[in-house]
Amino acid sequence: MDQKSSSLGRFGGKTILYAILMVFVFIFGFPFYYMFVLSTVPGTEVYRNPPHIFFKSSFFTNISALFDDIPFAINFFNSFGIATLATVTVIFFCTMGGFALAKYDFKWKKPIFVLMLSTMAIPPFLNIIPFFKMMIFFQWYGTWLPLIVPGMANAFGIILMTQFMQSSIPDALMDAARIDGLTEFGILTRIAFPLSRSGIAVLGIMTFINSWNNFLGALVMLPNINSTTLPVALSKLFMQMDGDRGGLMAGTVLAVVPLIFVFIAFNKQIISGLAAGSVKG
């Protein structure tokens, strides 16, 4: 009887838990669902009241309007190219930096770490004017470089990888590799990189998402519609008197799809990376 009531209690508890979770899934999931719905609604009905909450049939009309309004393929290529290059370079340099801080002893290691940590306290928008002046000075205005190079070895990435590598790469393994004749760079590429896959996945996806969504940087540094990224190109459609709202929503959906794919592809590594971070500190 006791066993029965305790299993009933467990069942009730789980039901309540799942009910609460379902509420949160709805709260967080509905805006996404609604965005997909609006991408299939005719542009003139986007602001209709009561709103459409089920899919309609205008998705391809909206896509066609979008392609008429902006050079979508070029903007997509720019976004993808910048985000990919930023991600690859950030992973490479931040992992190197994190590896050095985590596994080597050298002069001023602590002050350098503290200095890097303190730069994270500066709100990014405060940097935008000196950043812009520097990019003009380097003659990088209008190129992809301002959106990739300055962030390649960023403080957040290095600190994240330092924390991760401190606990995930045993010193004994590095010593054994040295005895076997591996160079320090070999240790980085053949031991540190594979053992840090989860941390790299977290850093990679965060970099990709931040780079993909970097509106202000692209707005300020990339001057024309053919050189700019998707968020800026889509913003051009917003508030246009006869701008097609359906096209805007369809473009927003297409802009989000790569992020969803990236997240799905690296889902396992991200979860394990975050979990590892939570127990290893």
Binding site: P130, F132, K133
Partner: protein, 435 residues
């Protein structure tokens, strides 16, 4: 550790030197200024927002423009309203220029006057005041600083009017024409409030938000913040603005809808609001995308008590850091866009941006009935109001004071502060700024 401190000091000093080396460019004297050569090939870039690119491209496709500028190619950098002005703020604050011409919404002029970075178009060889003699007076004054500098040329204007839906007004058995005061507007507004579906909840309001009225007794927030050197004077004017806002909210005739939100946009098409106060440009927005199905139902009329204000308007400026040769061609393009009938009317026909040039007010198009407004001659109404709006020069404090007064309006509307208390708080803040 000492070495680290030394290195940091060197880095900071180098950074300061880098920033310090880029002082603001002095304006070249008229004699040394290159002259525009129609035979030479030029590329001019325009930083624009919203629909402006579309309008100016239509202008550039006309034979008149092509024959005037056969060797000029125009490129655009367009973004949404907020994005464009954020970019421009960054560029000008950095003392740089990335486009030869930058469009500004009137609300940003005071901000850029404060920050500097724009060419004074009143000076020779531009002589903008003389060039703009046929541009409506209030618009020229809004781009003129108290020391006489002209920081931009008006290209389109937005005289404020009261837009309303005839069907909802008829249903309520009232009229919004020729209202003599805001008090009368509030009384009529009460009749426009309704529970249409009978569920016990109000679902029809007179206007979307009380705060849209706030700036109209204050000339749309342009200039007029000082009298005889004293800020927020005459006091009655500012008290009136806050009182009207408070009374509208207390009368329950506004829907408390945030501007440019989904519910706000929907409210003009679904009957949630019967009227709204906005610049003339909003008529174009209603017609082309906000309430396309309501053709023939919307009307426009003067504001209660014939309050005169402008709510919006576009200006064209040349950043100070633009090379002189580019300034010469940029100025010729600006002159064309702001003072040629062809450009002004093409812009108007393309995006409904109301012309700033008074000579086109007599064009037959201005007297045509507009189908969307039930055959009303709204353009003539806009033109008449535009010529009555008082002049007001901008000052370096305008942007800050506008923000302070905006907080006072929020205090009255949201925090239920008294009008007198909000005025005093605003006055203290303004005095602190002006010190």
């Amino acid at each position: 550790m000492k070495k680290l401190v030394f290195l940091l000091t060197v880095a900071v000093a180098a950074g300061l030197l880098f920033v310090g080396c880029s002082g603001k460019k002095e304006q070249t004297s008229a004699a040394d200024m290159p002259v525009f050569d129609p035979e030479k090939e030029y590329v001019v870039s325009i930083g624009a927002y919203g629909d402006l690119e579309k309008a100016y491209k239509a202008v550039m496709d006309t034979e008149d423009f092509k024959s005037t500028f056969p060797n000029v190619t125009v490129e655009f950098q367009t973004a949404d309203f907020g994005g464009h002005h954020s970019r421009l703020t960054t560029v000008l604050a950095a003392g740089e220029a990335t486009n030869d011409i930058e469009a500004l919404e009137v609300g940003y002029i005071a901000k850029f006057v404060e920050g500097g970075g724009l060419t004074n178009l009143a000076a020779a060889p531009f002589n903008g005041v003389e060039v703009g003699k046929d541009i409506v007076g209030f618009a020229m004054s809004n781009a003129t600083t108290s020391d006489g500098s002209l920081v931009a040329m008006p290209v389109d204007i937005a005289p404020a009017v009261l837009f309303y839906r005839q069907s909802l007004v008829d249903e309520a058995g009232v009229s919004l024409e020729n209202l003599e005061s805001w008090d009368e507007f509030i009384e009529v507004g009460k009749e426009l409030v309704a529970d249409r579906d009978g569920d016990g909840e109000i679902d029809q309001f007179a206007i979307p938000n009380a705060n849209e009225v706030a700036m109209t007794p204050l000339n749309g927030g342009k200039g007029g913040w000082f009298k005889d050197g004293k800020p927020l004077e005459p006091k009655e004017k500012f008290i009136e603005a806050l009182t009207v806002v408070k009374e509208i909210r207390e009368a329950g005739i506004d829907g408390d809808l945030g501007a440019w939100t989904g519910p706000w946009t929907q409210s003009f098409a679904d009957g949630t609001v019967a009227a709204t106060i906005n610049g003339a440009w909003f008529g174009g927005a209603l017609k082309t995308w906000i309430a396309t199905d309501l053709s023939g139902d919307w009307r426009a009329t003067r504001l209660p008590g014939n309050t005169l204000a402008a709510l919006g308007g576009t200006y064209l400026s040349i950043p100070a850091e633009v090379p002189d040769e580019q300034k010469a061609v940029a100025w010729e393009v600006i002159k064309y866009l702001t003072t040629s009938s062809n450009a002004q009317l093409t812009t108007f026909e393309t995006i409904d941006a109301f012309p700033a040039l008074t000579t086109v007010f007599d064009d037959p198009i201005m007297n045509e009935p507009v189908e969307y407004f039930g055959g009303q001659k709204v353009r003539q109404l806009y033109a008449d109001i535009a010529q009555e709006i008082p002049n007001a020069a901008v000052s370096e404090y305008d942007a800050a004071i506008l923000s302070v007064f905006g907080n006072a309006i929020t205090d009255v509307l949201v925090n239920d502060a008294s009008v007198e208390e909000s005025y005093q708080t605003a006055l203290n803040s303004v005095l602190a700024i002006a010190d």
